[in-house]
């Protein structure tokens, strides 16, 4: 039996960011990590997803710099160490564009929103 939801997956995720936590889901049936947040596991079809808090550490899977009149900015796909991938931006004081393989960590101060979430580099390969 798949029960009714009291709160949406998007709301749980957003509340996590606001509290300074990067949350993701893990399937109670197959054990795989799931992102973006949803109501069922795309890997096995189970509706038993549990929320976990990510350490925020990951590796740049791919990256692009978008050239814009209002300034260049980064968009990257990050493979988190817990086994999920997300799109975000890498923004820090290190010179040069982020590269595939760079180690990064999420910057999630209290009050973070999806729009203000970013990653920063911790080391380059």
């Amino acid at each position: 039996m798949i029960g009714n939801l009291e709160v949406s997956p998007a709301a749980v995720y957003g509340e996590g960011l606001a509290a300074g936590s990067l949350r993701y889901q893990r399937c109670g049936s197959c054990g795989r990590a799931v992102f973006y947040p949803r109501v069922g596991c795309p890997h096995c079809g189970s509706a038993h997803l549990a929320w976990e808090t990510s350490a925020g550490s990951g590796t740049v899977y791919s990256t692009t710099t978008i050239r814009s009149r209002s300034g260049d900015y980064n968009v990257a796909l990050i493979d988190l160490d817990e086994g999920y991938r997300m799109m975000c931006t890498v923004r820090d004081d290190i010179a040069g564009d982020p590269r595939i393989g760079d180690r990064v960590v999420a910057v999630v101060p209290p009050g973070t929103t999806a729009e203000t979430l970013s990653f920063r580099r911790t080391e380059q390969p």
Binding site: Y36, T63, I66
Partner: protein, 384 residues
Amino acid sequence: MSDPSRGVISIVGAAESDLGRVADGLTSLDLAGQAALRAADDAGIGIHEVDGIFCATSHYAMSGLELAEYLGIRPRYSDSNNLGGASFVSHLLHAIAAIRAGLCTTALIAYGSTQLSDGGKLVTASAPNLYESAYRPRYPVSMYALAAARHMHEFGTTREQLASVAVAAREWARLTPGAFSTEPLTIVDVLASRMVSDPLTVADCCLVTDGGGAIIVTTTERARDLRQPLIPVLGVGEAHWHRSISQMPSLTTTAALDSGVRAFAMAGLDVADVDVVELYDAFTINVPLFLEDLGFCAKGEGGAFVSEGRIAPGGTLPVNTNGGGLSYAHPGMYGIFLLVEAVRQLRGGTGARQVAGAEVALVQANGAVLSAQATALLGSAGTL
């Protein structure tokens, strides 16, 4: 034992609407309608002989309803499946199913867009993925840029190799009457073009034009009595694995891997049988990706494969023989134009760009962000 869907329908009419920058006030529906009427003329049938309608557009969520009303068609089979630019080759597969099942006999597949007249912005009724749009990727170029960057990282593919795709397309366009961009283009020009989303420059990106296209299919049995050379649909396959780029399992392998196997299996053919290739080149990276996934070269060798003129006029594998989305036309969703050009090549008589003796054409249509893939193998009468 051949697949029972192989060759059961044929393309009897194929046409484009006005292309490039069309007259002020024309709508996407006008262009789809004009292409449909031209396709019916090409087939030598009346538009009201159509009893199955297949339509997808960016402007109209209920495209089939709109186009049927516009043309005064009362279809008994209607399919507005929208897989982005892959829609029209997907429609071809669905038309085989519908015609084989006796649910319709004569199907129209049509598209139109005024993307250029609208100011060039990509019109879409598709809601964004909020877990991506928060970071302001430029849709869709940034998604293809991420794939290109990953391909370069994994396989050593170079920007020069990607540029050679744009150069080959331009050389074909220069042989094609009505092509949108025909100025000479070199690899140096592409590399020096304005960077949009690294590693893709504006010259790695498809055009923005207006235009529409349409094809008409019916049973091969009926097609034999119509006026155009027989173009049997030998095989079609479709596949999609993701919608958003962050959900694509590997950025260097597309679902063309599956759609291609399905199409080749239905047709009973393999890559060695293909004389001419029409691939959806929304961005230069698409061409090596699809040539790899379809089996024209090994995974990772696409960059080298597209270099040194191999896919250009005079090369060993003719690819995008009208100049493609990069140089011929690109009104939002290009897939229908792949089919039109493949039909023209198989009928013959396209002039300077004609691939001599083309008997089998492969069409690879791509939708959204490398998301939906649909492959078609079309033949000449002799391939049945």
